[in-house]
Symmetry: C2
Subunit: 212 residues, 2 copies
């Protein structure tokens, strides 16, 4: 299973297809053509057909794909059939916001716990989830073989959270912190960088203004 | 000014440098070598030197860069010297979380308003900012020539929010919604896709497990 090296761009597209197919399932749709999938995902039909042909025979051209089968196959490639639990470190406005938002619902992920080191936050509620002490993290990571941790601590506290997660054995981390984090080679870390996205938008908008 | 075409990767690196320099300023540092900048940003020294040499003479090799001057120059290239105001559409847990978190503080951005269409939310507080009606958006966008809008509405309501922003004349949008949005060519939209980042992490983690 999933020992194939797939480019990040392909993984992102497959992730989008999976999300669109989950939404289609919720709407009660059973069959979807590659054109419909393309249109729902905002990706060209040619790219959809190429992707699906690379990863095997998922349906017959013209008659569409079975939503359920296609979703199962794509989840197999991604390795997300049974997605790992996600824990959140930092019960501030972003950490709690993520927990409550259900933003990852159609991604198939569920938040299994939220942690903070602030004694005043430990025991309080984020939505209907009680905030736990970060001291409980090592225990959890050891019990579950696979966990993804989301770092949503305040600026400056990112490396401390990261070091604790690494020491506990966590291998996959998504960080909302502003500072770059030092990690061992066997730990995968990705960043959600809101201010960098804003910089890219500003540059693009003002460049267009100048070029007019 | 900024009529130069710079690749997205370069813009992202420049954005990181700017953030590191702002943090250095806060710490009261006046001079920074390219090695320090590289180490603070988690980018190789070679890449830092190459980037800085492309965009002009910012300092003398060996003696380091003046933090203030380098930041000014980089902000000039990015077009972020005087960053545009950012408005948030959707006063739910993510929208409010962003507003309160100050996540974009060291990016130099400030949230100028938060909007919702739900009458129960209009007038309530997110942090110390009062939620306004989305009906006020056209007025705001017309008054300010440049605005970045962050879409943080619930799943399924993204396109409606986008259409309203486009009609109001907004040209730069960052979306946290799960669905791809249709926009005219002259509007730039970027996505923060938490569940796709989680898929990339899961794929990577499980692939390593299989390859062991």
């Amino acid at each position: 299973m999933i020992a194939v090296k797939v480019s990040e761009k392909s993984i992102r597209r497959l992730s989008h297809y999976a999300r669109c197919l989950r939404l289609a399932k919720i709407r009660g749709e059973f069959i979807m053509t590659s054109q419909q999938l393309a249109s729902n995902c905002g990706i060209s039909s040619a790219a959809v057909r190429r992707d699906l042909s690379i990863y095997g025979e998922f349906g017959k051209q013209g008659s569409g794909y079975k939503v359920d089968d296609l979703l199962t196959n794509i989840q197999n490639i991604l390795g997300t059939t049974d997605p790992p639990p996600v824990i959140i470190i930092g019960a501030g406005s972003i950490g709690c916001g993520l927990m409550i938002s259900g933003l990852t619902g159609t991604g198939g992920y569920e938040y299994s716990a939220i942690y903070d080191k602030d004694p005043e936050k430990i025991g309080s509620l984020c939505g209907d989830m009680q905030v736990r002490s970060t001291e409980e993290i090592p225990e959890l990571v050891k019990k579950k073989t696979e966990v993804i941790a989301v770092i949503a601590v305040t600026s400056g506290a990112g490396q401390e959270a990261m070091d604790m997660l690494v020491a506990a054995g966590c291998k996959a981390i998504l960080s909302f912190t502003l500072e770059p984090l030092k990690v061992p080679d066997d730990v995968e870390v990705r960043y959600v960088e809101v201010s960098t996205e804003l910089d890219v938008l500003t540059h693009s908008m003002r460049r267009k203004e100048v070029l007019k």
